[in-house]
Amino acid sequence: MGAALSRREFIALTAAGFAGFFGLWALVAASGLVQELFLPTPAAVARKFVELTQQPFVGYTLQQHLASSFGRFGMGFALAVAIGVPLGLAMGWFRWLDGVVSPLFDALRFVAPIAWVPFAALWFGTGIGGPVLVIFAGAFPPCVINAYRGAKYVDRRLVEAAQTLGASNWLILSEVLLPASVPSIVAGVRVSAGLGWQSLIGAELIVASSGIGYLIVKGQSNISTAIVMSGMIAIGIVGFAIDAALRRLEARIHRRRGRG
């Protein structure tokens, strides 16, 4: 492995990296090699971004599009966690349930979340229901899998102790398996938030009449690269923020457990 860099060298190289990225972009855009239509300069994109937050595009401002995306995301994600985690835990405890659900689950997992789009539109329309189903399809599997694994790998002694004390199935699930598998569940929830957010974008690209995915599709059909890029930046920022929030939650839980 190469030797560790000095602090100064690291900062200089990182700065050079950032400068290189934006510099190359600006250079290609300004050189006229590529039409401005297809590659606006970074400054033009930044201006467009600010403009979108003030003037509505296809009916809404950027914030409003984001808010409607986020609402859909929240619903699909909450549904996936609310159904997926209990199902995974129960599958980890009840052998028959594992036997019944696992084959179905394994078969369905191969279906890309985005492939649910036509059925989602057919069953629930393109307003809220359709996209929510697609988000759910993306976010559901990691919730189930991690809760299941968490429940399977709980220390046997804990479960046996609870059984010896005559705990019911319900008590074992809620008082032993659930708390013991929290780290695994939270890790799964983080993955599922990322996948859910991606699926949301996919769903909105295809079926929606508002939302950030819709915004970039409309930017595409208007051949406005600046709008498309602004939308992508907004998607990136929100996705990053969701992940950062869940990472903090994860760290917090680990800290607590370390102490307790």
Binding site: F10, F38, L104, V117, G213, I235, F240
Partner: protein, 260 residues
């Protein structure tokens, strides 16, 4: 924890579940019409749709043509991403200077989900195959870089020191130490990114394509043809499964020393 289900038990319960589900499907759609045909197809309709797309063709192609076209695009984008991303990741893993220089670009690009690149790719390259290959490339590139980077970092230092002590030359060092050492993690990354590639391709084809499995889904959605939607979804799942299996086969071939 209860004892894990044995293989036989699992298989039996799984088969019984699938049989029960098929019976339920028949009952709900054909026998009782509890689910209207406009929402979910009957088994007979699905059979007919499957025959139609296999023999007469649907959405401008027969099933194998759609299948081959989609697989070919995934393969192209995937191969391009791996052949560029793999070496780049290894370089970043090896040289801290390269890492510091390239990392900023990654920080900027990584939070944007591959699906969000679709509209930009369409603006740049149109609705043809090139745009799809570009998007698939994006979907596979980031995981390829990150995992080959992590792969190089995971090589045990004493292996590297041993090679150095023996005075191994650069190329030989890369071929005999770096690449084999990084391969296990690289393949983990490949498996993850293959899924992402499929999802992205299906989304890209749903948005606009001439042939391909996603195009079948799109056309079936337009035609309000639930049986064909289901056939399309199953095809997407099977194709994804086949590709994953092919990668598994390649993995075993590429790392014969791991075979047990």
């Amino acid at each position: 924890m209860r004892d894990g289900p044995t293989g036989g038990f699992r298989l039996a319960v799984g088969a019984a579940t699938l049989a029960a589900l098929a019976a339920l499907w028949y009952l709900a759609t054909t026998a009782t019409h509890w689910i209207p045909g406009a929402y979910f197809p009957t088994p007979a309709e699905v059979g007919q749709a499957a025959r139609q797309i296999t023999f007469q063709g649907y959405a401008d192609g027969k099933l194998w043509q759609h299948f081959l076209h989609s697989s070919w695009l995934v393969l192209l984008g995937f191969a391009a991403a791996v052949s560029i991303g793999g070496p780049l990741g290894m370089l970043m893993g090896w040289s801290r200077r390269a890492e510091a220089l390239v990392n900023p670009t990654f920080l900027l690009v990584r939070p944007i989900p591959p699906l969000a690149w679709i509209p930009l790719a369409i603006v740049w390259l149109g609705l043809g195959d090139a745009a799809k290959v570009l998007v698939i490339w994006f979907a596979a590139f980031v995981p390829a870089v990150i995992n080959s980077y992590a792969g190089v970092r995971s090589i045990e230092p004493h292996l590297i020191e041993a090679a150095r002590t023996l005075g191994v030359k650069r190329w030989m060092f890369a071929r005999e130490v770096l690449v084999p050492g990084a391969l296990p993690l690289v393949f983990t990354g490949l498996r993850l990114s293959l899924q992402a590639c499929w999802t992205t391709l299906v989304a890209g084809e749903l948005i606009g394509a001439i042939v391909g499995l996603g195009h079948v889904l799109y056309q079936a959605g337009l035609d309000l043809f639930p049986a064909m939607i289901l056939v399309g979804m199953v095809s997407v799942a099977v194709a994804g499964g086949l590709m994953t299996a092919a990668l598994g086969w390649l993995e075993a071939r590429a790392m014969p020393w791991r075979a047990s």
